[in-house]
Each structure stands twice: as structure tokens, then as C-alpha cells.
């Protein structure tokens, strides 16, 4: 009888061990997920408040080269052999004029350019007419005459070196350089 009891106990022991072992494996907790972890918010000191730059001050700090590089004044284009201001150019000139009104001290140079489909000499005269018409349109929009200068480069400074209609269209233009601010 005693023998049976010992055997039973031993069996129970083994059984309980196995069970406990199994349970342990099952109970292994899944790796903690990051989002479950409590986050510690680092409370930073607020940065020293930057002095608020007004637009004027930013403008004031820029060099002429920087302003010109931003191209605040959009160039306009012309029809072949013509120098009248096209309707699509009028909108561009209006936005250019409002920029100039905003920065009332700016003085600009209007450059007239032509495509390679004209001869050297006639193109110089034509470029000047394009610049002058641009000048007149800006004046009609209320820009003071003494803020505008004009020059013609003829076909000597193309922005597109191609030899097709698209290049020629791009090269027939009036573009703007800011001389003073």
C-alpha cells in the first residue's frame, strides 16, 4: 500500500511538474509593445522668442543679387517681329506693378531681347521698342517714370540656345533687373 502511495505521489509530482512547465511556456508575456510603454515627455524650455522680422526688414537685409535671384518680377514675351504688349503679358505686368508698388523704393532696368530670326541691327532697335512698350505699360499702371530704365540687347543674350519655335518664343522677351531697392 505504501508502495502504491509513493508511486502515486511520484506520478502526481511528475504530472504537476509537466503541467507547471507547460503553463510557464504559455504564460510567457508577449514582448512589450512600444506604444504601451509610458512616454516621458521632456518639457523643454521654450526657445527664446526670435525677434519677429517684418517683411520690410527681410527685404532690407537681402542684397540686390539675392532679390534678383528670386526673380520677383516675371518676364513677358512677345510675338514674332512685334513689340506690342500681349494680353497674357498684361496680367504679368500688373502683378509686377503691384510688387513695385509694395516696394516703393525699387528701381528697375527693363531689358528688351529678341530671337535669332532677326538681324543684329534691326533686332537692337526692335528690342528697344519692346522695352519701351513694357515701360509705357508699367507707367500706365502707376509706376513712376524715374523708377524705370530701359535697354536693348537685341539677340545677343538668348536664354534658350535652341533653334526652334519654342526657343525663339522664349527669347522674344522683356525681362527685369532690380538696380536699386
Amino acid at each position: 500500500m505504501k508502495k502504491i502511495l509513493i508511486l502515486t505521489l511520484a506520478c502526481l509530482l511528475v504530472l504537476s511538474f509537466t503541467i507547471s512547465c507547460k503553463k510557464k511556456v504559455e504564460q510567457t508575456p508577449p514582448p512589450p509593445q512600444a506604444k504601451e510603454q509610458p512616454k516621458v515627455e521632456r518639457v523643454e524650455e521654450p526657445p527664446p522668442p526670435k525677434p519677429e522680422l517684418t517683411e520690410e526688414e527681410i527685404f532690407e537685409r537681402k542684397t540686390l543679387e539675392e532679390i534678383n535671384a528670386e526673380k520677383p518680377l516675371q518676364m513677358i514675351h512677345f510675338d514674332f517681329d512685334k513689340f506690342f504688349i500681349r494680353d497674357d503679358a498684361k496680367a504679368t505686368l500688373e502683378s509686377n506693378a503691384s510688387w513695385m508698388k509694395k516696394w516703393g523704393s525699387v528701381k528697375i532696368l527693363i531689358e528688351g531681347h529678341c530671337d535669332e530670326k532677326g538681324t543684329e541691327e534691326y533686332n537692337l532697335a526692335l528690342g528697344e521698342k519692346r522695352a519701351k512698350n513694357t515701360f509705357d505699360y508699367l507707367v500706365s499702371l502707376g509706376i513712376s517714370v524715374d523708377r524705370l530704365k530701359i535697354i536693348s540687347y537685341g539677340k545677343s543674350q538668348p536664354i534658350d540656345s535652341g533653334h526652334n519655335e519654342i526657343s525663339w518664343e522664349r527669347n522674344r522677351r522683356a525681362q527685369f533687373t532690380i538696380l536699386e531697392k
Binding site: E121, L124, A125, L179
Partner: protein, 432 residues
């Protein structure tokens, strides 16, 4: 017969004559200049036998030969003809009959008398073969790197004897971007010895020689303006002529007294102005709302050819120096520009545009005949005459695609490329 009937009779006769002329066929015959003079240029002798001396003598002969051939007056005989000459040339005892036998009318005898280190002494002599007569001779002492100049000078002397202006020592001034931006350069008539004249960061444009070749008028893009300057390249100075509006396109009168140029001073419209040869006393010649540009003096310095779009498209006109007596000379095209009046007075070369192609045309002012000078799908423009009016320099984007300077004869012969580095344009040929 009363006076009245006589008048009617005369009128009738004139009408008849007019009708006959109108019906006449036009017969074109080419009778230009004088017959070409064949000349013999045998190998130049060298007193020293060193290869350098031999080489120098050969160079001198080659350049002289090429120059005289280019003149369109002389024709150096082909090398193969010299094979008929049996004996060696003895400069002191020339056997002229032999040279006559190969049809030579002139004989050039060249001798390199000395060739020491960097210096040479060259003697060139010109003989008339038939009369067995010495015409002229010159000795030149120079350094070896000026061999070409020595040869050019000798050929200019030959030209002078035939009543021709100097050609071979003339210079062509032009604009090149080979060193980054547009600067002025000059070169010999044959494209050799290209040298830079201006050194700056701005764009230099449209150069023109003064009549005495001492000055070059040009446009400099400076301080947001296109100013007209007169540069004296051999005196290293320049002076401002005009800085109102965009000023450009100068041409000097052959008598040296005047210069004409364009300026957009008035309402940004290009008009033609005139000043003295030194750029003083500027006065305006054209007054209208159209573009007037590209003035070119007549050889008499009394008239100007120019471009105007007063008719609606750019066309060639001629006016008196005072701005009066304007008459149109180009018809039948929609775009003409860049007239250049030949020093011989009878021809006007200009650019005509058809689609995107420019070609040069020569208008004979006496007969109104027009010759097309250039061919090919390219933009040929900015023509300028050589001083004797047989050659032209112009710019073209033919062949290479880049713009280069070319020379061509008044009748379309002898097309040659003068430049190849960078882009080169706006050539002007000096008058001496």
C-alpha cells in the same frame, strides 16, 4: 511746224522709245574688272642653306602667292608650269624668254639675304617679263615671327603699282565670346594673328573701324546703358561719344570726316545720327516714327544707305548726308537689313530674310541687277566690304552651327572660313 506740234511729236517719239525699251529682253553679261594677270613666283632663294632659312623662304613665297591669288587681279601660275623652265633662276641674269614661254606676264624674284638668329633680311623684286624690265624692289628687315607681315607688305606694294588700295595688311575687327563674354578682337584679312582688344566683364558690341584705322567705334554695355565709345587700340585710350539711349551701329565715312550711328535717344525709337570722325558735334539725320538703323556711307561720303521700316517692314533706303532725298532701294522682300555700300560705289550688299534664313544679296546700283551671294540653310548676315570692294566679310552659322566669320568675293567665289574659336560675329574690314 508750230512749236506745239513739235512738242507732241517729241512726246510721241519718247513714248515709242519707252515702249521699245520695255519690250527689250535683258541680256546679262559679266564683264567685271580687268583681265587677270598671270605671274610666275619661282621658289625663293635663300643665301643660307639651314633648314630654318629654307623654311622661312618657303613661307614667304607661300604667303605672297596666296595673297596675290586672293587679289583677283593676279594669277600665280600653277606649280606644274615651272617644270618647263630648264635652268636655275639667277637673280642677276634672268632669262626672261623662258618665263614668257609659260605665259607669265610678271615675275617675282624673292631672296632671303640674311637669316641670323631671330632676324631676317628679305628682298622681293617684281619684273615685267615681256619688256624684260625691273618694276620695283623692296628689302624688309624683320624678326622671324613677322614673316607673314613682310609678305603682306610686299604684296600691298604690288597692289599699289596697279593703283589698288592696300588689302593684305588690313585688319578685321570683330566680336568673339571665346574668352567667356563678348569682347572685341582683330585679325589679319586671312584670319591669321587673332588678337584680343578689350578686357572687361561687360558686353562689347558692333565694332567699326575709323577711316584711318586708328580708332574703333563700338557699343559697351555699361552701368545699365549701351554707350557708344571710340577706342584707340594703338594708343590705349578711349572716349565716350554718346550715352543717350541705346547707341550702336557706327559706320565711318571713307573721307574720315564723319561717322554715322544709331541711337534710341528720342522716345526709344532708333534714329540715325551723325558726328565728326572724332565723335564731336552729334546731329540727327532721320525724324520719323519708324525704326531707322544700319547706316553705311557711300564711297563719296555724300550719301548713306540705311534700313528703315517706315513702309511697314525693314527695307533698304538711301539718303543724302543731310538727311534729305530719301529713296527706297530694296523691293520684293519682307525683311532687308544691314546694307553695306561697296567702296567701288556701284554695289550695295544687304541681308534678306526668307522664313528663318538670311542670305546676302548684292544690288548693282547702276543696273539694278541683284545677285544672290550666299546659299544654304543658314543665317548669313553683317556684311562688310574689303577696301577695294572685291571681298566681303560676314557672319554665318552654316556648317558648324556656331556663328563664325567668313569671307566671300563680290561674285560668290572664294568662300573661306576665318574663325573657329567660340562664336565670332559682327566683322568690320578696315579701309587701309
Amino acid at each position: 511746224m508750230t512749236k506745239k506740234t513739235l512738242c507732241y511729236l517729241l512726246l510721241g517719239m519718247m513714248c515709242c522709245a519707252g515702249a521699245t525699251f520695255a519690250q527689250q529682253e535683258v541680256v546679262m553679261s559679266i564683264r567685271e574688272g580687268m583681265p587677270i594677270i598671270p605671274m610666275a613666283i619661282p621658289e625663293f632663294l635663300s643665301q643660307e642653306s639651314s633648314p630654318e632659312s629654307q623654311q622661312a623662304a618657303a613661307t614667304l613665297r607661300d604667303v605672297i602667292s596666296a595673297d596675290l591669288k586672293y587679289s583677283r587681279i593676279f594669277s600665280p601660275l600653277p606649280q606644274s608650269y615651272y617644270g618647263y623652265i630648264q635652268r636655275e633662276l639667277d637673280p642677276d641674269n634672268i632669262f626672261f624668254k623662258e618665263w614668257e614661254s609659260i605665259q607669265a606676264k610678271l615675275l617675282i624674284v624673292g631672296q632671303l639675304l640674311k637669316s641670323e638668329g631671330e632676324n631676317i633680311l628679305f628682298e622681293g623684286k617684281l619684273y615685267d617679263v615681256k619688256s624684260e624690265r625691273f618694276i620695283f624692289g623692296k628689302r624688309y628687315q624683320s624678326s622671324k615671327d613677322l614673316l607673314r607681315t613682310v609678305a603682306h607688305r610686299f604684296c600691298d606694294e604690288v597692289m599699289k603699282i596697279y593703283g589698288e588700295p592696300t588689302l593684305f595688311t588690313t585688319k578685321i575687327v570683330f566680336v568673339s565670346n571665346r574668352d567667356g563674354n563678348d569682347e572685341l578682337y582683330m585679325m589679319d584679312y586671312d584670319g591669321y594673328n587673332q588678337e584680343r582688344l578689350t578686357y572687361n566683364q561687360i558686353q562689347d558690341y558692333m565694332p567699326a573701324w575709323s577711316a584711318d584705322r586708328q580708332g574703333i567705334a563700338y557699343t559697351a554695355y555699361e552701368d545699365g546703358k549701351a554707350k557708344l565709345y571710340l577706342l584707340y587700340p594703338f594708343q590705349a585710350r578711349r572716349k565716350l561719344i554718346w550715352d543717350k539711349g541705346t547707341s550702336f551701329g557706327t559706320n565711318f565715312s571713307p573721307d574720315g570726316k564723319w561717322m554715322a550711328f544709331c541711337s534710341t535717344e528720342d522716345e526709344s525709337n532708333s534714329e540715325i545720327y551723325m558726328a565728326t570722325g572724332e565723335g564731336e558735334n552729334v546731329q540727327r539725320l532721320t525724324f520719323n516714327k519708324a525704326i531707322d538703323t544700319a547706316p553705311s556711307w557711300s564711297p563719296t561720303s555724300r550719301e548713306l544707305a540705311f534700313t528703315s521700316d517706315r513702309s511697314g517692314s525693314p527695307q533698304i533706303y538711301i539718303m543724302d548726308r543731310e538727311g534729305s532725298n530719301v529713296r527706297r532701294r530694296s523691293f520684293g522682300g519682307t525683311y532687308h537689313d544691314g546694307p553695306a555700300w561697296s567702296p567701288t560705289g556701284d554695289r550695295l550688299v544687304y541681308v534678306s530674310r526668307v522664313e528663318a534664313v538670311f542670305d546676302l544679296y548684292v544690288l548693282n546700283l547702276r543696273t539694278d541687277q541683284i545677285i544672290k551671294l550666299t546659299e544654304g540653310y543658314a543665317r548669313n548676315e553683317s556684311p562688310a566690304w574689303s577696301p577695294e570692294g572685291r571681298h566681303l566679310v560676314f557672319s554665318s552659322n552654316r556648317v558648324t552651327g556656331t556663328i563664325q566669320l567668313y569671307a566671300i568675293d563680290y561674285d560668290g567665289q572664294n568662300l573661306r572660313q576665318l574663325t573657329s574659336k567660340g562664336e565670332n560675329k559682327l566683322g568690320d574690314w578696315s579701309r587701309q
